[in-house]
Subunit: 209 residues, 2 copies
């Protein structure tokens, strides 16, 4: 398509570099901005610039934060000997929204993925090992997504951590049938895992809410 | 959802003001920008600002343009007595990409829509009337979308234009079965129109390419 304006073509090019946004959607978004007050475009552009320039990562857990040390890592009421390893900030937000987890996190910043060219050195794995070596950690919970890349990362971390002197306990979040889900629609792998990792009934009753 | 950073929460708010983009998608886009080089966020923000601040509308046809008078309106090889009335720049781009239309355009900037609060004064209708009064226009082609709002706008324009002294001819683009489409899947309104507005066979042969 040929654009009647270089400015329009430039903004469409830039917007369509975002994942999942094609040229057509980018054009629609640009025309939308044109119909809104100039302040909205200004606020959007400034917030993108500010976000990209000023955002920090917590120097302990590497989650996104406005501070050197994030609110979770500086909260003394939390259990700092229990670390949940996640991929990115969205996972932290999901777990935090349950309000039930009282440990801390370690944000890897991705998963090991040979296909996407992400190696262990691209993630915060060394920092996790440092944390385990320098502080008294009782347990590490792996909470990566159950994909090939997630499993690869889990195994890599497991080998690294379990060969340390005095390694902490290592667990992984339970895979199983979601609460409220029908058995017949569950995939087989999940179904098998839910049977293998069955839970004493009396324990499960106490977890009902 | 609670964000671990004010900067993150601000950028998600701003991005999710765009149509069709929710908080979740906005968060995904923000995290994507964070993984890309800072230059990409910079280029995105600057192009949005520049686009919104510097974009012009052609003073004749009101299409988006970098100049006072757009390339189409200043092209002497085109037929300036034939005006195609469209809603926005996307329609101009669609018709231009056929390479077959040799007239000029008038971009309304929308359709009359009582529900969305868009009245005739919000569009460039007065400017179209001025063009017809001040220049020798032979024909006006309505090329608005075939919706209630499009029809309303067509009727409004028709009444305005046809009551002028020496009004130009007024036509509307053909509605019918798309080339390559099966009759059985066409909606009834379109099918009826395609029969009512049938074209002499010999004329249609000449249009085959």
């Amino acid at each position: 398509m040929e654009y009647p304006s270089k400015l329009l073509s430039e903004v469409v090019d830039e917007i369509s570099k975002l994942p999942g946004i094609g040229k057509r959607t980018a054009l629609r978004l640009a025309l939308h901005l044109l119909k809104q007050p100039e302040e909205q475009s200004e606020a959007l552009a400034q917030s993108v610039l500010k976000f990209r320039k000023e955002i920090k990562h917590c120097k302990i857990c590497h989650n996104i934060s406005d501070k050197e040390v994030c609110d979770i890592c500086s909260d003394e009421r939390r259990n700092h000997a229990l670390i949940c390893v996640v991929e990115d900030v969205r996972d932290v937000m999901a777990i935090e929204s349950t309000g039930e987890y009282k440990g801390v996190y370690h944000v890897l910043g991705g998963k090991i993925s040979p296909i996407e060219g992400v190696g262990p050195a691209d993630l915060t794995i060394d920092k996790l090992i440092e944390r385990i070596e320098n502080y008294q950690i009782d347990e590490i919970i792996f909470a990566l997504s159950a994909t090939v890349d997630g499993d690869t990362t889990n195994f890599y971390l497991y080998r690294k951590i379990s060969t340390l002197p005095n390694p902490p306990g290592i667990s992984t979040i339970a895979r199983g049938i979601a609460v409220g889900e029908e058995l017949e629609y569950a995939d087989e792998v999940t179904l098998v895992r839910s049977i293998l990792n069955r839970v004493p009934f009396e324990k499960s009753i106490k977890q009902n809410r």
